[in-house]
């Protein structure tokens, strides 16, 4: 009976043991810090300029008696980015609810719409002003990119919003939103998890949360132990990567000065004529590259087996 070679952990085959190890380490950092935060330890988070603008923006909207418009990005499904954005909007809505300021939250995706509807209603209830909550203030606009852009721009112009918040995944429509809101003089706080769109927000908005500041925002605003703990955990991971880069660069710099007579490909060493060391010969590079021979099992194959759907050939 013929044998086939099967690697254990096919899904992680591309990463190798080091990848799995690093992933677990990052997860451990986050868990440990959530525990620390739950234990009542006051963990430090530095000030983020864009976030202080939130209160200012809502304050102005209240003075003018005009609505605050929020868009939690154009995520295809509900994901951590959309949830994160809605969490920040919960904070915004809380202040708006206290001042009886109208809000508008425009959704691109049905699941995000459901989640936002739920969250915002909870906010009004917990503030004890459930009667002020207008179910129409959380809206599903469209799930086609430019139809959504046209719909939201229309809303901004008709409602003459005083403050707008664009937080989450934004793509080519980012500038359409930002320009429209800019043209009516609204205060804008924005952030896109898509690096390519951040420049447009920087050009057209008053305050921009760059990159990871977006993820730090809700931890900073709410101080919930889970959020603060994961933020600190992520920081530990980033610090680890910085140290790894510094250490690895120094190590590689000295290692590459030498020559080598052996080469390792797919976990197997072989003798070669002497040559200068390449980056792929260094210790760090070997560590990062998955070595495939690690765990291998042999399974028998049934020679009579016909895969489904090929029977009719």
């Amino acid at each position: 009976m013929p044998l086939s070679e099967v690697y254990i952990g096919e899904q992680y085959r591309d990463s190798g043991w080091f990848g799995v190890f690093m992933t677990l380490l990052v997860a451990a950092f986050v868990l440990v810090n959530i525990r620390r935060a739950r234990g009542g330890k006051d963990l430090y988070i530095r000030r983020i300029a864009g976030l202080n603008a939130i209160d200012e923006a809502i304050g102005r909207a209240t003075e003018m008696g005009k609505p605050v418009l929020m868009v939690p990005g154009l995520s295809d499904t509900i994901n951590a980015i959309a949830v994160q954005a809605v969490n920040i909007f919960a904070y915004v809505s809380r202040i708006a609810a206290r001042f009886a300021n109208p809000i508008l939250l425009c959704c691109y995706n049905a699941a995000v719409y459901t989640y936002a509807q739920e969250t915002i209603r909870d906010v009004y209830q917990s503030e004890g002003v459930a009667d002020r909550y207008d179910p129409d203030s959380v809206r599903f606009v469209s799930d086609r990119q430019f139809a959504f852009a046209a719909g939201v721009s229309g809303l901004i112009l008709r409602e003459q919003t005083a403050a707008t918040f664009f937080l989450g995944e934004f793509y080519a429509e980012s500038l359409i939103f930002a320009e429209t809101a800019n043209s009516i003089g609204a205060i804008q706080v924005a952030s896109s998890t898509e690096t390519t769109q951040t420049p447009f927000f920087i050009a057209a908005c008053d305050y921009v949360l760059i990159g990871d500041e977006f993820y730090a925002a809700s931890a900073y605003l709410t101080r919930q132990p889970v959020l603060v703990g994961s933020l600190v955990g992520q920081d530990w991971s980033k610090l680890m990567i910085i140290l790894m880069i510094v250490f690895g660069t120094i190590l590689n710099t000295f290692e590459i000065q030498g020559k080598t007579t052996s080469e390792r490909t797919k976990g197997v060493w072989s003798q070669i004529p002497e040559r200068n060391k390449k980056q792929s010969d260094t210790f760090m590079s070997q560590l990062f590259k998955p070595q495939l021979e690690k765990v291998k099992v042999e399974r028998p194959i049934d020679p009579n087996y016909v895969p489904e759907g090929e029977a009719a050939k």
């Binding site: 690093m22 430090y44 951590a80 086609r144 139809a147 730090a216 690895g248 590459i256 980056q279 990062f288």
Partner: protein, 244 residues
């Protein structure tokens, strides 16, 4: 004919640049309606039918293709889908959280799985040597007319100019990363300097992105202009009028 319709729609949508007008609104609504209609059809033909309905009821035998068995377990998905609609109920809206929790959980699990596959090789590629291996020449010498052996010798060395490049690269990565550390109180001046440098380097990067995006937007405009002037006017209308 088809191209003419396209040209009218293009002019209609660009006319908003002059000012908001009825012509533009008409084409905007046509566009929105078409998109919505297309999505409705595609939702069934591309998503529900292929991924769910056909798998649930099976497909009959066709020329050359064997019939597939239906799997009625797929019907169990209906209640999960319907749960989403409970958001409209004031009393039972908590039920709508269940399918969302499931989707969110699946998504998060996948992110953990791909994290290293995406960033591992990038970290590895960042570990570049920052000292030259040779001082024969400060910059990479010209490779014209070299034998393959000499060429590979040149390519295996790190020259001073490359080392400087690599150093700047590593410095950029580290300073930008350190800008995104939120939970460490920075007191030392050196670290603060690195943070500030990270911010400036980020801005330079954003400028480059801005530039390449503007370039793309221009390309799309040029494409539209080509569509109007060349494809429609020069190659479509003009030969028709001149009777060629």
């Amino acid at each position: 004919m088809r191209i003419t319709a396209g040209v009218i729609a293009t002019i209609g949508l660009y006319s908003v640049l002059w000012k908001e007008n009825k012509f533009y609104r008409f084409f905007e609504h046509v566009f929105l309606g078409l998109a919505a209609g297309w999505t409705m059809v595609a939702l069934w033909t591309e998503t529900l039918k292929a991924n769910w309905w056909d798998k649930m009821v099976g497909t009959p035998a066709e020329t050359g293709a064997a019939a597939t068995n239906g799997m009625f377990a797929y019907a169990l998905l209906i209640p999960f889908g319907l749960m989403g609609y409970f958001v409209f109920s004031k009393k039972h809206n908590w039920i709508s959280r269940i399918p969302i929790g499931i989707i969110l959980g699946l998504w998060s699990g996948q992110q953990v799985q791909v994290w290293w596959n995406t960033y591992g090789p990038q970290i590895d590629a960042t570990l570049k040597p920052i000292l030259p291996t040779t001082w024969d020449s400060l910059i990479v010498p010209s490779t014209n007319g070299l034998t393959p052996e000499q060429l590979s010798q040149v390519q295996s060395q790190i020259y001073f100019s490359q080392a400087v490049n690599n150093f700047l690269f590593t410095l950029t990565v580290v300073s930008v990363l350190s800008y995104f550390l939120f939970s460490f109180e920075v007191k030392s001046k050196a670290v603060k300097g690195i943070n500030t440098m990270g911010r400036y380097l980020l801005m330079i990067g954003f400028g480059a992105i801005f530039g390449s995006t503007v370039m793309m937007r221009f390309t799309l405009l040029i494409d539209r202009m080509h569509f109007i002037w060349i494809e429609w006017l020069r190659d479509g209308v003009f030969p028709m009028i001149s009777g060629r």
